[in-house]
Symmetry: D2
Subunit: 136 residues, 4 copies
């Protein structure tokens, strides 16, 4: 079994500075899952016959994937913690996830990849907002 | 429940061109888990009192995280498949994972984060090699 | 000669929606240069004899590199523009660059890599703020 | 003026282990420029009326951007150098750049973004191959 984000967090050898380990771990894993779903959804949209109707969806998927990947990396670090950076990137991530969920939701009835991607984005948006609520 | 890589793969609307969906999905998820473990291990090493003895481990963790993240993204795309690119990046990923597993294993008795990270790297190395065996 | 960000922007085939092409291009190139400087500075810090005094600098460098890379990618896309995402990631980037410039500046007298990295971060922070001023 | 990859390389405080600083710096800067060109070309393709004819180009652009970004990061690190990892990722990068140059070249007469992107890919492929020739 590969270690979860929570398992790795538990091995951090110094003080976590008041971080909520559950909210943090959930957000890291939601970001990683959302990045994968968005990358796959962008590619699936690209192979739809009606790709011309899905260009905004593809673009938002790509932005959301890039921002989720950066956010997961930042949240996986605890050394020399800077609350300003954490808060700013988690806020950007919540905004990208909301935008991508809203866009994918418009195509969810037609495309199962958009439906699943919208769910991953909503889950990640919520995990970001729950983490933000625990930050000082 | 957020969609797994396998769930997303199942929604791809065109021909997958002979890809083994199980080997592919396992490799994507192993890459994502390994990237997270490596980023967290690099950071945990940075907060050890004996950080000066862990600089090669930190560096290899960072390379492995970057290569796993790129590999997961490439493997999440199926449109206009190019076997040469896939093979090359999965080979690079297997090599980085092996190097990182070997380096982390040296510190596994002292540092639980290195032990867990070595396991994640071994799992990902194996998933890469199993995927390579299925590629034409 | 490889195309600059401005050259690529000039080839975009649709309406740029009021984007200031100079501020946009400068920000993309500043993000790319800052990501490289931060990655190199983190690695140079890791090879200093006094690495134990530089752990916060290394961590901030890594966050700044990840956020600058994501920002450069988002700013390189214009299809289906969403001002909310752009604004949020550019704000996060400005905050990360300011934090990293401040941290590197503390070591600039001792380490030339920190001095150059602080300069790259200040340039990128300013390019982000100038771009933000042009966004609606 | 923001520091170039060569400027940063010159500040590395330990032994570079026989790396050719010119070939290394050129490859880092070619990777960064190619990643930007590929991201911009993918987005420009997405906004062409005939996007349905450009899906393989978009996909190859995205792979090439991801691999170039990872390669630039790996090459920006010198601590605890592992020639196997460097060689594998630079080879993967050369392969991705060749594939993307070949694909973009097919559309270069129609689309200036494809022409410029093909050039950036050729430059990066060559920089990768020149760097590989200097590695032991």
């Amino acid at each position: 079994m590969t270690a979860s984000a929570k398992d790795m967090l538990n091995t951090y050898p110094a003080d976590l500075g008041g971080v909520d380990p559950d909210a943090m771990s959930r957000c890291i894993e939601a970001c990683a899952a959302c990045a994968q779903a968005c990358t796959a959804c962008a590619d699936a949209c690209l192979s739809e016959g009606m790709v011309g109707d899905l260009t905004k969806c593809i673009r938002t998927d790509m932005d959301c994937a890039d921002i989720c990947t950066a956010t997961a990396a930042v949240l996986s670090r605890h050394t020399g913690y800077d609350a300003n950076i954490t808060r700013a990137i988690v806020q950007a991530c919540a905004i990208a996830c909301k935008a991508c969920a809203d866009e994918c939701a418009k195509h969810a009835d037609m495309h199962e990849h958009c439906r699943l991607c919208a769910e991953a984005c909503r889950t990640c948006e919520q995990a970001c907002n729950e983490l933000l609520a625990t930050l000082g």
